[in-house]
């Protein structure tokens, strides 16, 4: 065993170098840059002290949260339908539904423009119905649609797996005791897929918080954190602010992920 131990220690060296080069150094650098601006250490709190940035943070959080909730709601419905029913072409349909996973944010943004932009399909339809030209691609609504579209496949696949693992006799037992469909959903299905709901929701939220390509494609005037960071360091060359905002964005997203992981972990144990 000693030789194996020594070998294991030897492998620690490249691992350490890797961590140092790609993880610690950039982080340290980011923190250092954020504190080296004209405002000194106060820059770290720019997200809260600068009202414009604070507004952007709230908008980003709201957008990410609503997009996540909408994605989960749609995901649950789709997963329940696909998990409970068998029909020809089902496998092909599921494969097709996961296609958006392959697209970068730019393409998702482009598709939203094709759908809801000035020349978009929704606009044409609403106009021909006499309701005026509906255009929402270049706003928060467009971004919302883009995030839902982008996160839905991952959420759906995760939830589908959870639904299929759910013991069907649990639902039958609840119904035998007199539970209505809504009560079964509330008391059996949602708690049963709770851990997957948490986990996939956290990923969808984190994705929405950090997504840049979609926002950049749709409009440069949209106030979301990723866009603000971009404009701060490209247009304004305000490296300290950009770094501080990056740290804040990172910490918030990481915090949400860690929190749900803890919570979901407990739920997984309880469901054991």
């Amino acid at each position: 065993m000693p030789s194996a131990d020594r070998l294991a220690k030897l492998f620690l060296i490249p691992l350490g170098a890797f961590v140092l080069a790609f993880f610690l150094l950039p982080m340290v650098r980011l923190v250092a840059v954020a504190g080296s601006g004209p405002n000194g250490l106060a820059e770290y709190l720019v997200l809260i002290t600068n009202p414009r940035h604070f507004g952007t943070l709230i908008a980003t959080l709201l957008l990410s949260a609503t997009a996540t909730l909408a994605t989960l709601a749609i995901g649950v419905v789709v997963a329940l339908f696909l998990g409970r029913n068998r029909f020809p072409g089902q496998k092909a349909l599921i494969a097709m539904l996961t296609l958006p996973l392959a697209f970068p944010g730019v393409v998702v943004g482009f598709m939203i423009i094709l759908l809801a932009g000035r020349q978009g399909l929704i606009g044409s339809i609403s106009q021909s119905l006499g309701m005026g030209r509906m255009v929402f691609a270049y706003s928060m609504a467009g971004l919302f649609a883009g995030y839902v579209y982008f996160s839905l496949p991952r959420v759906m696949v995760t939830l589908l797996a959870a639904v299929e693992k759910l013991d069907p006799s649990l639902e039958e037992a609840a119904r035998s005791l007199g539970a209505s469909r809504a009560q079964v959903l509330r008391d059996v299905i949602l708690p049963g897929i709770g851990p997957s709901l948490m986990a996939s929701g956290a990923i969808a939220f984190a994705t929405a918080m950090g997504a840049f390509g979609t926002a950049f494609t749709l409009a440069t005037r949209i106030d979301v954190l990723a866009m603000t960071i971009y404009t701060e360091f490209t247009l304004s060359a305000n490296f300290a602010s950009a770094a501080a905002l990056s740290i804040a964005l990172g910490l918030i997203t990481w915090g949400v992920l860690a929190l749900t992981r803890n919570f979901a972990g407990d739920r997984v144990a309880a469901a054991g």
Partner: protein, 349 residues
């Protein structure tokens, strides 16, 4: 019979209930079945015989093919979904809600019926006490053993005071010793409550011990309905005979009032027949000395089982029998023995 309470369960009638699944497989041929209030009826058969489908039709989890009818106390419930039928159901996997404690599980049926929290917890506690698991009330489901889960599942089904309780292989997931113990407990409980119970199993010992009547099923049809004694001693056909208990079979012919087979001959009643077979249960035959009976076999295997010995015998034509012998009988593999059969306890077919 003095302390038997009046039956509280429903009378159930199935008429013409068949089931064909969308892919065309026929799970159940149209069948008729009458279940009297308070009766415990066991649906027995191998897997795929339609017993679970029958149970699910009674429960309301499956609907019968067109023309089939399910009646509870004469009232047509065919179109009612399970949540409106007021049935209690116990599943093989127990299907306890993992996100609720034991008492919340048991109170769940009352909760969805809108019973106030205080009352439903009191009633659930009562049922737990009746099942002698009141000390488990606050436990989480993953902290329970298999036998405890089974009791909780039964308590949950009974808490809503159902008209009928449906049990789908409730003991299959338990080990043998616990199974015997719980079987006796369930039997006592069903009798005390005098509730109509339908019990699905593939285990003939469970069926014989629990059922007022047994419905033996095969290939989606009823093979025989009868009391455990009927089923065991007067099986309707080969399938029932071989599925319920061990059946020995001697092949031969009847000539001049004697059944003749490779191992010898014995006196039987009935006309001559060119081919006949004689069937009997292991415990109805008695071993004797090789020359003391008309039938002669060779001892092939002896299994000591404590109270009894199980003996495998071979006939000259290669036929095999299993019989029982007293624990202290001296049997040597390779020796010849005779066999005495009680004419009242074998069947000539």
């Amino acid at each position: 019979m003095t302390d038997t309470p009046a039956p509280t369960g429903a009378a159930i009638t199935l008429s013409g209930c068949g089931k064909t699944f969308p892919d065309g497989t026929c799970a159940l041929e149209p069948l008729d079945l009458q279940i009297t209030p308070g009766e415990t009826i066991v649906l027995l058969g191998p897997s795929g015989c339609g017993k679970t489908t029958t149970l699910r039709i009674i429960a309301g989890l499956e609907s019968p093919d067109a023309g089939g009818k399910v009646l509870f106390d004469g009232q047509d419930v065919t179109q009612l979904p399970i949540e409106k039928r007021n049935v209690g159901m116990v599943f093989q996997s127990y299907a306890l809600f993992p996100n609720m404690s034991v008492i919340e599980n048991v109170a769940y049926g009352l909760r969805v019926r809108g019973v106030a929290k205080k009352e439903r917890l009191a009633r659930a506690a009562e049922v737990l006490e009746m099942m002698r698991i009141d000390q488990l009330a606050e436990r989480r489901i993953d902290q329970l053993s298999g036998g405890q889960r089974q009791r909780v599942a039964l308590a949950r089904a009974l808490a809503v005071r159902p008209r009928v309780i449906l049990l789908d292989e409730p003991l299959t997931a338990l080990d043998a010793a616990l199974r015997d113990h719980l079987r006796a407990e369930i039997d006592g409980l069903l009798r005390r409550l005098a509730i109509t119970a339908i019990y699905v199993t593939h285990d003939q010992a469970e069926a014989l011990a629990l059922g007022d009547r047994i419905v033996v099923m095969r290939h989606g049809a009823i093979a025989q309905i009868g009391s455990p004694r009927d089923i065991y001693f007067r099986p309707a056909d080969d399938f029932v005979a071989s599925f319920v208990g061990v059946t020995n079979r001697l092949e031969g012919a009847v000539r001049g009032g004697r059944f003749e087979t490779a191992a010898g001959s014995i006196a039987v009643a009935g006309p001559d027949r060119a081919t006949a077979s004689l069937a009997f249960r292991p415990e109805t035959a008695v071993l004797c000395g090789a020359g003391d009976s008309g039938l002669r076999f060779r001892v092939e295997q002896v299994h000591f089982q404590g109270a009894r010995q199980r003996v495998q015998l071979g006939a000259a034509d290669g036929g095999r029998l299993v019989v029982e012998a007293a624990a202290d009988a001296v049997l040597v593999v390779g020796d010849d023995v005779g066999l005495v059969l009680d004419p009242a306890r074998f069947v000539l077919v």
